[in-house]
Symmetry: C2
Subunit: 401 residues, 2 copies
């Protein structure tokens, strides 16, 4: 498949990808776009020119309306965009709707309904369990039986590039709890999926319903304050240690772009209960890359995740909980078995005891004010073409006083 758009070598935004986002240009109104090479294709513009069917989906500030339209619409739109971008005869009419990425102000791509965060990497759960509960088995007794998850704060999901103010809160000290800026500000490199088509209250969505409800995947950085979290999280789970900010990438990679990346997940033993079984392999051959102040510090491999996205979706709804358009479900920290495959600093530095030595000579136990974190990811596409997720970045600002 060849596109007439000039796609730079190694770009993750080839015509096999076509991720969706929301952008505005020079203070103009927001609209839905698709990334191609170093451009954004303005779908609202295409629709206005009569080149694309639009039922109010594209001249919009979020993807929610388009995402709710359902799989046949997603498929038809993707087929049409592919035809427009590969057929040389369309070039003259389509090219005016390509906007340089450098001119596009990228927004939060969708309004987040509920945000659920899972805990689905066995390596991560084992490593963190050892740190948080040194006197217990690292993996909780339920871990191999269900994809553990909890609800996070949807209202503080922010787009890539939003600065993150260091949170204040309570932490443990020898003299009882003290209040102040977190001393253990961390990241969590994750991959999340977003729900397009809602479900009815009382009606579980089986693993086989994944493709009918889920629109695509994003990158997630679930910023975490480990000292606040360690003091607060028992017995009802993380709250303020997580709720100050969760950053997501501006691009939503559609399921159709990830078909070639699907792979068998790790074997599950014990065999999960029937509602968690899945006929299709939904591991994803997707490698993350974490940069701290421009230095690569980790390459977490998403294919090692124990619980898959369809299992997470089936679990989250098996009690009859309804889905809404915009529900975001994140994987939990992606960590592989090797040290340079861990997805958060608490693991990379063993809770600060073994600080990272950066090539610029600086050391990091946890994040310092001014630090910038960038997470990227690439999946394997058809014929080895890279499917890029763009990036999710953020810079730490000092605590407010």
């Amino acid at each position: 498949m060849e596109t007439w758009v000039d796609v730079p070598e190694g770009s993750g935004f080839g015509v096999e990808n076509l991720p969706y986002g929301v952008f505005s240009r020079r203070g103009g109104p927001p609209r839905v776009g698709v990334a191609i090479g170093d451009r954004v294709l303005d779908l609202a513009g295409l629709a206005e020119a009569g080149l694309l069917t639009d039922r109010g989906w594209f001249a919009a500030g979020t993807l929610n309306s388009f995402m709710s339209a359902g799989r046949p619409v997603w498929q038809a739109t993707r087929e049409r965009l592919t035809a427009l971008l590969t057929g040389p005869e369309h070039r003259g009419r389509v090219e005016p709707h390509l906007v340089p990425l450098s001119d596009a102000d990228l927004r939060l791509p969708f309004d987040v309904a509920d945000y659920v965060d899972f805990y689905s990497s066995r390596d991560h759960a084992t490593n963190v369990g050892r740190i948080f509960r040194p006197n217990a088995e690292p993996l909780p007794p339920n871990w191999l039986h269900l994809p553990i998850g909890y609800h996070g704060r949807a209202g503080t999901v922010v787009p890539s590039g939003t600065p993150v103010v260091r949170p204040c809160g309570q932490r443990r000290s020898e003299d009882g709890p003290v209040f102040g800026p977190s001393l253990k500000l961390d990241i969590e490199a994750e991959v999340g999926f977003v729900v397009g088509v809602p479900s009815a209250l009382g009606q579980p969505v089986p693993t086989a319903g994944f493709r009918d409800h889920v629109f695509g995947f994003v990158l997630v950085n679930d910023w975490s304050a480990r000292d606040i979290q360690a003091w607060e999280y028992q017995p009802l789970g993380p709250f303020l240690g997580k709720s100050f900010a969760t950053s997501i990438s501006p691009w939503v990679v559609p399921l159709a772009a990830l078909e070639s990346a699907r792979t068998a997940p790790p074997p599950q033993d014990p065999e999960p209960l029937p509602y968690l079984r899945c006929d299709e392999p939904w591991g994803l051959d997707l490698t993350l890359r974490i940069e701290l102040n421009g230095h690569v510090v980790s390459h977490p491999p998403f294919a090692t995740m124990y619980w898959t996205a369809p299992q997470q979706l089936a679990h989250a709804t098996v009690n009859g909980a309804a889905l809404r358009t915009g529900d975001l479900m994140a994987s939990g920290t992606v960590s592989g078995p090797e040290r340079d495959q861990r997805g958060c600093l608490i693991e990379l530095t063993r809770d600060g005891r073994e600080p990272l030595e950066l090539p610029d000579g600086r050391r990091r136990a946890y994040l310092e004010d001014g630090d910038t974190v960038r997470i990227q990811a690439t999946a394997s596409g058809p014929g080895g073409a890279p499917i890029g997720f763009g990036e999710v970045t953020g810079t730490v600002l000092p605590a407010s006083r």
Copy 2:
């Protein structure tokens, strides 16, 4: 203060209350109303007739727009409604906008942004701690230092009257986890507050900011599946044991109606950290009443709550988490020290070991299919006038197969 509306003796909807809700009449469009006696005053109708200022707040399907308008608007609207309902000269023009409650279809009063559930009753936390963690101190070490809370599922908050399908899920057995309908379906009688005015990311809201951000209070029934919860909740907190349904009352009682109910909360020892201190007393003299199939089984006293609503709000934002219009923060189960003051069945029946003996001769350890739960609450108003919260009800339907 006397109203010309015929308010039945003992009604909690006197002119001192004026709670807000959303209703429709005979399939008509939804609109904002205020309860008075056994009528609903149609605010959109009043506005259309030129009797009430409206900037798009009242011909609406939710209270969110009005709630976001802020305290000066809430005050001016309340003053105007009070004048219209107490001045005999207004009766002729206002009376056509009174709809019998029996003709009004009551809706979810607001779109829920994020839903946070606290755990602020010391009696409840102690009782439940003994049941869930029999070999540990019942009160966790952090409990007296901060109002423990977690995020629940906003998308499954439903209006009073919505049937609740018994959830399925995993529970512990001697032979490992098994799947099936919950055998321990419970309620939690709670009181929640709803945020009107949002706050900026990175800017904590102090306890003194409570009145500027919070619009009012509702009744909450946080349905809970104790067997699902017990198996899943460690280490990241409750998830499917709670996320299938949370019911709220159709009426939001504004803060202004609760001034006379304010009372000193229980003494706090140790003294909380400075950000949790509050100059005003925000205990509320408010008594709940739980009925199971028409039989009163408990009278939980809200004034016994250890952590107050302004403390909960200040805690939830001290890390810089932003507030949105429609954020719902619930108290956690309201339980007093006496057995007939407990706010959930796990406490009332000691996890089913001491079933309730109902006057109709039936016994209940947990809820059975077909059971109906009704929670009501009344606060003391000016001169002893009752301030009613209406009710939150729900009937249990069998698990879906």
